[in-house]
Symmetry: C2
Subunit: 135 residues, 2 copies
DNA sequence: TATTGTTATACTCTATAACTATA
DNA sequence: TATAGTTATAGAGTATAACAATA
């Protein structure tokens, strides 16, 4: 991707590009934008505030307002004021939202398929290498 | 990211998320959107047609028209009709565009830094695993 | 006065459909 | 008629600044 990029860096670029493209496709095959699918992802049954979502999604709160607004209009999430502090909104995924999130996860075969090409020892190696790079 | 996602899949998600966020930052630190930086990337001195770019970037040609239009307005690429077939446009990066592409590459330290955490043997392992997953 | 979230606005990305110029 | 690219248009993502409601 860059001038004089090493072979390993190029492989990483290629892998990430393929991964991203596959996630985009999985989202759009289920009628969601990637951003919408990413927003449904962390809503794991607990309630989350708009600010928490903005932090998780690494974007501005005003952006979350819009994305959540579209998801809410489709009945995929709910937004209710926190009784303890009525400034705060509690966002929760609905059963429909959960279904769609599962459908996206099922469509997103890329990581499963690619990891399945590695034998047990290689999978363990990969986990070790990723942990080292992420630490 | 998904219901019941394996640990290895979660590590991949985390790595890709961090990689993408770092590329976005590197682009925006240099006054480019990620899409603009991605468009400058493959313009390696040869000439490319709009269609080729659309294929490389996995998007519609009308989208490339707009992105290239903005890059051209800033003097980062040039667009000239192919004398052999005047329907075709040859896109080339300018010296300013090259400078900016290098600046983005320099800012995008994430892959270099993370790979540098691995010793020589681990880097070789990673290359092997990526090749297997990309094949 | 400070904080949470929304609204208003502007720009970019993206695709589809209609169009222009060229072949 | 077919192809390369553009234009028109519309919807979505994104951020900044101004605002409302609540604390």
């Amino acid at each position: 991707m860059v001038t004089r990029m090493g072979a390993l860096e190029q492989q990483l670029w290629d892998f990430v590009s393929a991964y991203d493209a596959a996630f985009d496709r999985a989202s759009e095959d289920n009628g969601l934008s990637a951003a919408q699918a990413c927003t449904l992802t962390p809503l794991t049954g607990d309630r989350h505030t708009m600010s928490e979502l903005a932090e998780l999604l690494l974007c501005d709160a005003s952006n979350v307002t819009q994305i959540v607004g579209r998801l809410e209009a489709r009945g995929l999430v709910s937004r209710t004021p926190d009784p303890a502090d009525r400034r705060v909104k509690q966002v929760a995924i609905t059963p429909d939202g959960r279904r769609l999130r599962r459908a996206v996860a099922k469509s997103f075969t890329f990581p499963r398929e690619r990891v399945a090409r590695l034998d047990d020892e290689e999978q363990e190696q990969l986990g070790h290498l990723l942990a080292k790079m992420l630490s």
